[in-house]
């Protein structure tokens, strides 16, 4: 199980690092195996930063991220490698996730040299074929090709297949379908649902509420780096208590109902005051927490 406890990330900006940007503030939640958790937020909410901190691509400024009780940030090189056997990530842009000048096989080859040295060629081919099958890809269609010869949907599935080669327990999926066409999105999403049935604990990062609602068991709503509401998906979507969540739900364009009348336009960006205290989360029911507002 992945646990985040009071995790914060602060960046220094401005000339000579005078100004400070709070990307993530005091975020705590657990990602359990066999469950999909949606991390929903608009741009600037810090959701991608949280994903990157879990994947150890960025270090938290405060707080701890633990996996099976071990502090992720304090791992040495050997422990990090073991961590990557259990926790992997899939990224948003399918065409950026592969080195464009090499064939996609290289991505798998990298895993082989780093994690499975000494595996025979037959054993490796069998393993690859298994992984590709579980994401509904035919090895003959995708192996030996360059990234630009494949579609976005295939590339995203390949990323997932790569993660499945390792015996992972958790997958961090950062906006993985936002760059895909509508007709392929749902298939990749269904794939995540299947993986969940196999016991994977997935952190699904997105800005799209309909997708989050479709696939997840628990939801966390993020705003300006703070959690404003979290809990079981039916509760957060069905009984939204925080005004931000409510306004988000009211703004989503639906297919069977029209928007309410036009509201006055937001005139400015609106950032949370740097010195303002992070609102505490209050329980409003079984598995439903809302920030004080």
């Amino acid at each position: 199980m992945l646990s985040l406890e009071h995790v914060s990330k602060t960046y220094r900006t401005g000339s000579f690092g005078g100004a400070v940007l709070h990307a993530v503030r005091d975020v705590s939640f657990d990602v359990r195996p066999g469950e999909v958790m949606s991390l929903i937020g608009e741009s600037g909410s810090g959701k991608s930063t949280i994903g990157r901190m879990i994947l150890r691509l960025v270090a938290p400024t405060a707080g701890t991220i633990t996996y099976q009780g071990d502090d992720v940030a304090a791992m040495n090189r050997h422990e990090v490698k073991e961590y990557y056997r259990r926790v992997q990530g899939v990224f948003q842009d399918p065409f950026s996730a592969y080195n464009p000048i090499f064939k996609i096989d290289r991505v798998f080859g990298m895993l082989r040299t780093e994690f499975f040295p000494g595996t025979s060629r037959e054993a490796w081919s069998a393993k690859l074929a298994d992984a590709l099958e579980s994401v509904s890809l035919n090895p003959r269609d995708v192996l030996g090709k360059f990234p630009h010869q494949l579609s976005g949907g295939q590339l995203q599935r390949l990323q997932i297949a790569r993660a499945l080669l390792l015996d992972i327990e958790h997958l961090v999926a950062d906006e993985i379908i936002s760059m895909l066409d509508a007709s392929t999105r749902i298939d990749v999403l269904n794939l995540l649902a299947d993986l969940k049935e196999r016991g994977l604990g997935i952190l699904f990062i997105t800005h799209d509420l309909s997708l989050g609602n479709y696939i997840s068991d628990t939801t966390v709503i993020l705003r300006h780096g703070c959690i404003v509401e979290m809990g079981a998906t039916e509760k957060v979507f069905g009984d939204a208590r925080h005004p931000y969540t409510q306004s988000l739900l009211a703004s989503v364009p639906q297919l069977h109902s029209k928007w309410a009348k036009a509201e006055p336009m937001p005139a400015t960006n609106g950032h949370l005051d740097d010195d303002a205290a992070v609102p505490a989360l209050v329980s409003v029911g079984d598995d439903h927490l809302v920030a004080a507002h």
Binding site: L55, V80, Y84, Q88, Y98, N99, P100, I101, F146, P147
Partner: protein
Amino acid sequence: MSTPRLADPVHTVVPSEPASVGPDPAAAPVVGAPAGGHRMSGLGEMLHFAIGNRKLVVGFSIVFAMFIFAIIGPYLAHHPPLEYGGHLSLSPTTKNGYWFGTTLLGQDVFAQFVNGLRLAFIVGALGGSISAAIGMLVGFTAGYRSGVIDEVLNMLTNVVLVIPTFAVLLVIAAYLQVRGIMMESVFIGLTSWPWAARALRAQTFSLVSRDFVDMARLSGRSSWKIIFQEIAPNMSSYLFMMFILLFGGSILIASTLDFIGLGPSNTISLGMMMQLSVQSAALQLHLWWWFLPPGLAIMAIVGSLYVMNVGLDEVFNPKLRTM
């Protein structure tokens, strides 16, 4: 002193209107087409474009011809380059093998010329390699690491950039009585890397933010492996072209240094030929065979290298190709 060079060597920003003429620019739209472009999808495709590119072919031919000449030339010369043969200010003739004539003091211009050509290529190769190596080391590290290391390397780069190389060289010349071509090459190599480091740092920056670098990290790859196996190959065309520019730049710098008298003290190079000819008032004395060959040679080599580079840019970057 900075390397005289063309504006930003490689296509970090592709011009919207390509220089080539044609009714329709050849850029393929994104309609169903790959986002990554066709950069290395076949050595064969690249060679095809390479051979079809006139700038590349012409430039390369000239440089290659000079190279061959530099190798076999010294074997054809009849006299050692520094020997005073006795025939003063002879215009080019077939007698005694003075094909390029003699200098004011009777030295064989042809012998000096081919010797100088050889030295030019040595300086180019050595100086170019050293500055490329340092530039790559500094540029990659600064671009990949960022943070404090980046700041320190930046400072180092800036310091070396503004060092007055003439002054330093003058001081060195005062202390060392004998300076060879190796010394000169090393000196050039150690002082002309900053702009390469800068350019590489910028390119590395833009590549480091790409997801495939994160993927490599998630696969447990170490930083140096990532730099040399993921990032550098992506820039291979850039690195190649950069080396060519450093090569040509080194030759040019060496010629300049030689011309003002700071060249190697134990041999004769193209720049030195020009220096001596000017000092001996060759222009006024109409001894054109003394300064014209070296001047034309330097121009031809360096100019062809630059033209080659422009052609290479077109080969590597599909967006700049003509239909």
